[in-house]
Amino acid sequence: MAGSNGSKRKSLKVIGKPFHKVDVKAKCTGEALYADDLTLPRMLHCKLLRSSVPHARIVKIDTSRAEAYPGVKYVLVGKDLPTSFGALPVSEDEHALCIEKVRFVGDPVAAVAAIDEDTATEALDLIDVEYEPLPTITSMQEAYDVSDPRIHEYGEDGNIHRKQVYEFGSVEAGFAAADYVREDITFYEGSTHLALEQHASLAHYSHDNKLTLWSSTQDMHYLHRHLAQVLQIPTNKIRVIATPCGGGFGGKCDPFNHEIVVSKLAMILRRPVKICLTREEVFYCHRGRHPVLMATKTGFKKDGSITAMHHRTILDGGAYGGHGVASTFYTGILQTTTYQLPNYKFEAVRVFTNKAPCGPKRGHGTPQPRWAQEIQMDRIAEQCGLDPADMRWQQAVLPGHVTANWIKIGTFALREAIEKVVEGSGWKKKFRKLPYGKGIGIACSAYMCGTQTPIYWNKMPQSGVQLKLDRSGMVTIFCGSAEIGQGSDSILAYCVAEVLGIDPFDTKVVTGDTDLTPVDIGSYSSRVTLMTGNAAIQAAERAREFLRQAVAEKLQVPGERLVFADRRVFDSENPEKGMTFIEAVWLAESKFGTLGTVGSYTPPAAPGKFKGATIGPSPAFSCTAAIAEVDVNPETGIVTVERMWIAHDIGQAINPVLVIGQVEGDVYMGLGEALMEDMAYRGNRNVVMKNPSFLEYKSPTTMEMCDVVTYLVGEPEPNAPFGAKEAGQGPQLPVPPAIANAIYDAVGVRIDEIPITPDKVLKAIKLKAKGLEGRVGPTVFPTCPMPEAVIVPTPYDGGDGKALEDKAALTKK
């Protein structure tokens, strides 16, 4: 049953089949137009002057020399855009251009619009900025220790942006019931998205006072709102068009300075203005993986069952809030979704430092805690004398589970996933049996398919789809989703085609245009397939009803007997009796007038009722098991990942070849983070990024990428369109810990910090040879005063999903 996921439901004609993506030919022929490919008549070019210092007050900006430079049309500074903004309403701490101070090397302070890129670049040198340097905050420890100066004047205190503490059940009681309790301190280094396309935007402001912004963005809807807020013009005067996005991975979710700046310049100059960031600037925009230090204390019994976990995290957030408050939640809130965990306490602190701001990168805040949890699970198995694959199988969350923190899990085939990779890899013959230098390791994970609530609170749908059918036979699908390479445009076509019984290429997909398309809140949180898919199905089913009524009347056949398939509508009892799809559309258009339908999707309410309970719950959870086989050279410390076996619970693949592409991409990105990717900063209080280029920031090429064996498993998820769950993020999560666990199997050393570079492996091997602990990783977890926990009784304690009110009230004081 498992494996041939695509053919699971044979009655489906489109779903589960390897159709081409609707946009792939354009992408293979150079026809697809990305943001920087666009030009408009009279277009100007913009460049940003970025701060050369990490933390300073701006004493003076003199733009007069730049303004006088031939070819320069305007020089914009911070006071021209005084309204602050930020991805989340709770941390609107950014300005399009810095006004009073700069907070990291690369923070934009001025913008030039000129007749060409060269002139704009040359003019940057003519802007004189006088800085008064401030002490810098470079690390988590410094953020704890130094409360003056503050990078921001808001947050918890000093340079601590955010603290949160939740306790579900009682970890003390859980530890008391345990046979063993262990705490492991681990670190996950920051890494960046490194999408191939550099961010680019083109703004146009027409003489009827309407702004159009074409931009390489994942979250067009939020950008639309932020533009209105900062530019102080109504949203109905702004059109945002998400161009085909040349890679996102979370890096194009935030509203960016340059998007606002070119819009403002276009408004001032009434000429189109374009910007394309350099690769170095993309590193400064960042918003990538937070460096996270973790202390994970877990109580467990001799059979490997977990009695309690107390998980603490510190996030180095960099210079701005961005999505950081959400990231902070995600460093703990999903720890309960892979294995049975009856008592759970989670403490998190996010600090500000004078570095490029961190934010959402593939897996948003969860690869770090998965890493901590999964390398600890390996140790727990060893301590209990259990096979780590068997132990995981035994402890796996089962379908329908409600976690200690009130997250409802739907379908969940983790056990099946573990069985697949264990069998496929020959685990039983290899684990602890391979020669020195060769090793095998396992890890698992679970991930959400979208969040219960959007970024700003509202009761409107998260996703909307409109359909237009007309006498041409064309079905046009309008949706505000942003195609970032994951295939979201195609998902719409497949879902609508399946419902209407036509070919996906009989449709036209129009997405990512706030003037034309109903709102979808964006390509993030692995939400797009589930939410736009459900909305598309609803719209298509409504359209099918129009056709059904018209055809039933014409053929004198009961409507419920009509079948929509193979571009025909026909009587199931007499398939010869029917008509073509286009004839059905003509009939319906004659009977009902112009045809159009809508569909929308709002996630179901989650059972948790405490403050913060909306972060974590999702309409559906995917899960993944991965096994890595590695070669470790004990002379050089070089780790080569030879192969990964990875089984992913997709529910029902809408298009299996696209799902496998996502899974392989997940393995790739996880491998890069595990072994080499590193947002590295120079020390000595300079806080300058060390490696802002493709050459210096190491990422896997074809020579480092491993072989991948993928299994698609699971049962269709009732909450998901045709049962399809996510694949874009979840499968990345088990990859780094599987590799770390395999390294331990190969050479008996534990590298408890990402990336696992050869120097760390070699150091651990040498320590072990000296009879010391063969481990490299953090040993100290800094602490700071924490508020009282929000205490929430678990479902197993007879809780009702609410926090204990008295404790919650104390926290606020």
Partner: protein
Amino acid sequence: MKTVKKSKTKLEKAHISLRVNGESVEVAFAPHKTLLEVLREDMGLTGTKHGCELGECGCCAVLVDGQPVLSCLVLGLAVEGREVATIEGMADGTSLHPLQQTFAELGAAQCGYCTPGFLLTAKVLIEKDAKPTREEIKEALAGNICRCTGYIKIYEAVELAAARMRGEQAEPAEESIYGRQ
């Protein structure tokens, strides 16, 4: 306001003749421009992409006299009289090149941004070697970075296109499409 003179006087535009995608063309451009910039900005051939403009990512690969080069590292002036091939010229009229077809079949283009560079580089590989091994494909494509696919679907697409170009009736492996059973 004081006036500021341009630090350097702009050089006159260079004017060259070359062949692009099989057609003779003339183009004028500022002489410091790279081939990448000339193609994109002066000839409207935006199918050639850029990811770093420093010769590090492979996005901007085009063929000059049949050999892959990074167009961000070549001056426009250097292609006077040469034959340049870009992604826009890869299809043969109405027929996609077999590589374009197999990239579509296997989902080897996700965001599509690195795709033109991969396609052109792979084209040269399979013209030279009708049956490259997986290792030879990896080596040939080692200068092209893709952040979406993990390269696997790209290898499979190159192997499939090479097989078809050898005249074989090749289809994607079941495992590539549906996963291992």
